[in-house]
Amino acid sequence: MTHLHDEKTKFLEEKALEIRKSIIEALVEAKSGHTAGPLGMTDIFTAFYFHILKHDPKNPTWEERDRVVLSNGHICPVLYATMAHAGYFPVEELKTLRKFGSRLQGHPHREYLSMLETSSGPLGQGLSQAVGMALVDRLDRGQNSNRTIYCFLGDGELNEGQNWEAMLLAGKEKLHNLVAIVDRNNIQIDGYTENIMPLEPLADKFASFGWHVLEIDGHNMASIVDAVDEARAIFEKPSIIIAHTIPGKGVEMFENDYKWHGNPPNKEQGANAMAELRTLGGQIASEHE
């Protein structure tokens, strides 16, 4: 992967805007679901699916692909929307989110959407699966494998002890082919993470488990790409990127308010959100009326 030039950065930012719109449309249509997490992780998912990942939307079972494990399955609107925009399935299908018979289950289920690497929803289980994938990648391909196993985690789900079991194992095995990305948005259902169950000093915790730790602004495309570049260059350890994000990013009403963790916008709120996104937060006056 290469560093971003200005044009590519602009392309990714515009793509992220389209994906945010799709997320809001899908949530309004679904009348349930999570708003804050998906919007907060949109820039990162866009950077991954449109620049970082080695993948082929037309051939989802390509053996050489990087693997993506979404541990906090409730943010699947961003996974679905990004995959749709990347060409895995029609964007129109996003409107079936959470509906009976849909491939887009409320939490991801690979029996319904076989191009997913795994099902998820119950928290704290993704990192272990990613560790299993990384162990097999190294068993089969040795140290010079060109596949990377990525795992997306929420910060709230780090309350789950299983994550720390997986952290121990990955540290023991020095899984350099494993890169975890934590959505450090500071909210969970009942409130702010540091009030519910403090995680800090988070970077120190990861480092003490034998991981290489990076911290970035999760809305800066160049930072995202550079961090993954560095993580992939670390040969002796698994890497974890603490991505500081704003939950609900892009729509002022949703930003930083934990009440939007598990609720969707209604029709009117959705329409306002779409207008705000179209005008890039009010920077374009003509859309305001």
Binding site: T118, E165, A166
Partner: protein, 325 residues
Amino acid sequence: MKATLNPKLFDTDVEQAPIRAGFGEGLVLAGRADERVVGLCCDLTESTKMDAFAKEFPKRFFEMGIMEQSSASVASGMAAMGKIPFVSSYAMFSPGRSWEQIRTTICYNDRPVKIVGSHAGVSVGPDGGTHQAIEDIALTRVLPNMVVITPCDSIEARKATIAMAKTNSPTYIRLAREKTPIVTTEDTPFEIGKAQEFFRPATVPIKVGIIACGSLVYNALMAAKQLEGEGTGTMVLNIGTIKPLDREAVIALAKECGAIVTVEEHQVAGGMGSAVAEVLSAEHPTKMAFIGVHDKFGQSGTPTELIEHYGMGISHIKEAVKKLL
């Protein structure tokens, strides 16, 4: 399916071996036959008999430490990459502790992970109730996609291990710690999903069918033998696979015998007997009795003391049969 059994079965010096030992032998053979087979163990490698596999295939063996929950999900990730992972621990902790990981990351994903639960049942003995898994059949058979196997001796455990390594299904195999009598022979057929007729009286008419699984198959056979000598005819069906249950064999037995006693070293609630009752109550309502643990936890003691205390001895099976006459 009629099976030939150990000719010394009813002798006092019948050969004994732990069911878990058969798993250990089977895993090595499965590993030789298919390099996709990998082993994960939660700090109980010798105890669960994964040590021979670990020695022969050190690169394909993963010491997981005492983390049953993560191990289930790690195995799921390995299966996603094309492996056939066997995860071994005590049944109390896997599937006991790791149940939701097994549900979500293995069964919901339909990954061919093989959960190996050793030291099941009260016959673990002196370790006491914390270590005596008598809920594991219920926990696993309730999961969609899951196959549940309960070998009756070490030979069947070896065959079952080899057979389950060849399927693409999530599978649970239940093993026991203590030495138990060798019931079957090398020639006894084993097929996942098939029950086997292990006893049919030669001299008296059949009155009751006994359906047994795991290490208590021996007690069921002893009860049947003694009952025949006392003039009461019973048949014994070995349920090597609890899920999928061999419905045809169960219904045929009920039709032939008219009454059924189920025998398992497990809670009566949700166990093999419940699975049999689910089939019979719908297909061929039959009077039943259930030998197993009745809503109690285990405790310390010798295996024999505990089997007797919880009502799973030979005399208890005979009593249950007689009550149904």
